[in-house]
């Protein structure tokens, strides 16, 4: 099923058009594709794509600065590339964009939880994920276990790819924000309790920050100790500060890829935050991040027509 992609990658590498092809390969755990860099034509054989790919591959572009690379992307990853270009982190000419179809990324932890025992193998069969392990074989409907972020994805397919691999993708027309609307209806006290319950589990491992392609600052505010913006312990106010300030820095820059949520070893639902950002940007500014590399950062421009009614 990955023949077309592999053939494309092999050709790019053997013709010397690129030095490497960035994408995913089978990992060592079931339902987990791992980031992979193919550098020789024969290594293209390892490339895969699909719901088992959890990270946002554009994160790795910062490790490839100065190299001619091809990168295999889904919709959100291609929007990330546009943002990186508009923020002058990347030259469009340095990357060849190979777009692949996307049905959404799997919320792997939910399957692990619902299955209960140890899962030893998994595969995708049509619209199902079939897993095998200590509790026997079970089938899960992929759509029911897709990351919350993917549910509201309007652009599952790569925007302006250089090469496009065809295949079935999600229906980008129907954005579903019902989970966020549910929270919006809560009272302030309920909201506080809801977020505290979720976020107080945070161990500040910063996997969510490191995996985020848009969190590329050389020196992050949480790491600063002169002055101390966020204290080092596990006081809830510090944990909350980290997440809220990260979100401020993400407004209009987050592509809601859901990679941070999938990265969290504690399974914290970070999409409650990223999806609220996405929803608000759409409602307040009719803005979807990363639609074009020419687009100016949403919070970097001012228009007299900007809505003001939400400013306190």
């Amino acid at each position: 099923m990955f023949e077309k992609l592999r053939e494309t990658a092999r050709e790019l590498l053997s013709k010397g058009e690129v030095e490497c092809v960035l994408g995913f390969a089978e990992g060592t755990l079931p339902m987990f594709y791992t980031p992979y860099l193919a550098r020789k034509p024969e290594e293209a054989e390892k490339l895969v794509y699909g719901p088992f790919a959890a990270p946002n591959i554009a994160t790795y572009l910062r490790k490839l600065k100065g190299k001619k690379a091809a990168v295999i992307v889904r919709g959100c990853e291609s929007r990330t590339i546009n943002l990186l270009i508009s923020e002058k982190q990347l030259n469009r000419d340095d990357v060849k964009i190979i777009g692949v179809p996307c049905v959404g990324a799997l919320d792997r932890k939910r399957i692990l939880k619902d299955y209960g025992g140890e899962i030893r193998e998994a595969r995708i069969e049509g619209e199902k994920v079939i897993v095998k392990g200590d509790n026997g074989e079970k089938a899960y409907v992929l759509e029911e276990y897709i990351s919350p972020s993917c549910r509201s994805c309007l652009y599952p397919e790569a925007i302006d790819p250089d090469i496009k691999i065809e295949g079935p993708s999600r229906d980008g027309e129907k954005a579903d924000f019902s989970d966020i609307e549910r929270i919006e209806k809560m009272s302030p006290a309920e909201k506080w309790e809801f977020f505290e319950k979720e976020l107080s589990k945070c161990i500040r491992c910063y996997a969510c920050r490191e995996i985020c392609p848009m969190c590329y600052c050389d020196s992050c505010f949480v790491d600063s100790n002169r002055p101390v913006w966020v204290e080092p312990g596990f006081d809830y106010s510090d944990i909350l500060s980290f997440h809220l300030i990260k979100m401020y820095h993400m407004a209009g820059r987050c592509v809601d890829c859901g990679a941070c949520e999938r990265a969290c070893p504690l399974g914290i639902r970070l999409s409650f935050l990223t999806r609220k950002l996405t929803k608000d940007m759409k409602e307040a500014y009719n803005f979807v991040s990363g639609l074009s590399p020419e687009e100016k950062p949403a919070l970097g421009v001012f228009s007299p027509d900007d809505r003001e009614d939400f400013i306190l």
């Binding site: 990992g27 755990l29 995996i211 312990g233 596990f234 070893p265």
Partner: protein, 318 residues
């Protein structure tokens, strides 16, 4: 070995200390065994400016010990490794108190996970020499065997039955199937080899997919790195110890601004070297117990078993 019903044993332990049920929390991403000896945040002392009297300092008294029930052998072994850092050359009083007071009831693993590779380190899911009491769940009963004096004391006053030959047979068969389910990584000679590999180019390849978060080291039962911070308020404050990780950029950042481990490549090298080269060199033991927690926690599927295989393949000049 002796045997007893699980409920009876749990009843006996009631009120003897904070009971932490690890037998029911094996899927938890964090190791409660490590947190019970090295909490992610630990108050070391409080200070306060008291008028003319100057600064008053108070060291908080520790809370009572915990009974850790159902510790997997790997995590109990990991505590023995923590001892090398916190008790061997110098004694860390905060650690020492908890180590002295906590009682570890180790439970053999009947069902190892796909990420377990403990057998690579010369022990296994049924090794009975770690913690204070060794237990095996044979279904209707627990087989128990005190390992330390602390363990014997914890069992005092209990009516224990003698295990029958058929109980022991059951244990043997559980042991065989558990051990059979684990993939061993052959790490023979790796520490000697790593000594010659500090400048090898392989580290860049190995580290490529790692994004340098703290997940692997935070969940690792043997990782002990910490940071000490003074938190200041108006006229009082406290000193605390919090977990730290060699994967973070500021971990090795010096005051001058120089960082001897400037990129993820050097940080990944340090993590592997510490466990598979420096530890063996210092203490004659690997700093990894093969629990596989890091493999499950990693957001990008960096698998330490795979990394070891890769390192083994590299050719180094003699």
């Amino acid at each position: 070995m002796k045997k007893i019903e699980k409920e009876k044993l749990l009843k006996h332990l009631e009120g003897k200390g904070d009971l932490v049920r690890l037998d029911e929390a094996r899927q938890d991403p964090l190791s409660a065994t490590k947190s019970s000896h090295l909490p992610r945040e630990e108050l070391l002392l409080l200070f306060r400016l008291n008028g003319d009297k100057g600064v008053e300092i108070r060291v908080p008294e520790g809370k009572g010990g915990k009974i850790l029930f159902g510790v997997p052998p790997c995590e109990a072994r990991a505590v023995d490794l923590l001892d090398l850092t916190f008790l061997k050359d110098r004694i860390d009083p905060y650690y020492e108190r908890k180590r002295r007071e906590n009682v570890l009831f180790v439970l053999a693993c009947n069902k190892p996970r796909s990420t377990c590779f403990c057998t690579s380190f010369g022990y296994g899911p049924f090794s009975g020499k770690y913690g204070d009491v060794f237990m095996v769940d044979i279904g209707d009963n627990l087989l128990v065997d005190p390992v330390t004096e602390k363990g014997s004391k914890a069992l005092e006053g209990l009516e224990l039955e003698e295990a029958t030959p058929s109980d022991l047979e059951k244990m043997e068969s559980l042991k065989r199937s558990a051990e059979g389910a684990i993939t061993t990584v052959n790490i023979e000679g790796i520490s000697e080899k790593l000594k010659k590999m500090f400048l090898d180019e392989i580290w860049a390849d190995l580290a490529f997919k790692c994004v340098n978060c703290g997940a692997c080291t935070y969940v690792c039962p043997t990782c002990y790195c910490f940071d000490i911070q003074d938190v200041e308020r108006t006229n009082w404050g406290y000193r605390e110890r919090v977990w730290d990780s060699c994967m973070f950029p500021i971990y090795s950042l010096e005051t001058s601004g120089h960082n001897p481990r400037p990129t993820g490549v050097e940080r990944m090298r340090n993590r592997i070297m510490h466990k598979f080269s420096y530890y063996p060199e210092l203490y004659g033991e690997y700093g990894c117990v093969g629990c596989g927690r890091c493999i499950r926690a990693c957001p990008v599927n960096f698998d330490i078993r795979e990394a070891l295989e890769t390192l083994k393949e590299v050719e180094v000049a003699a």
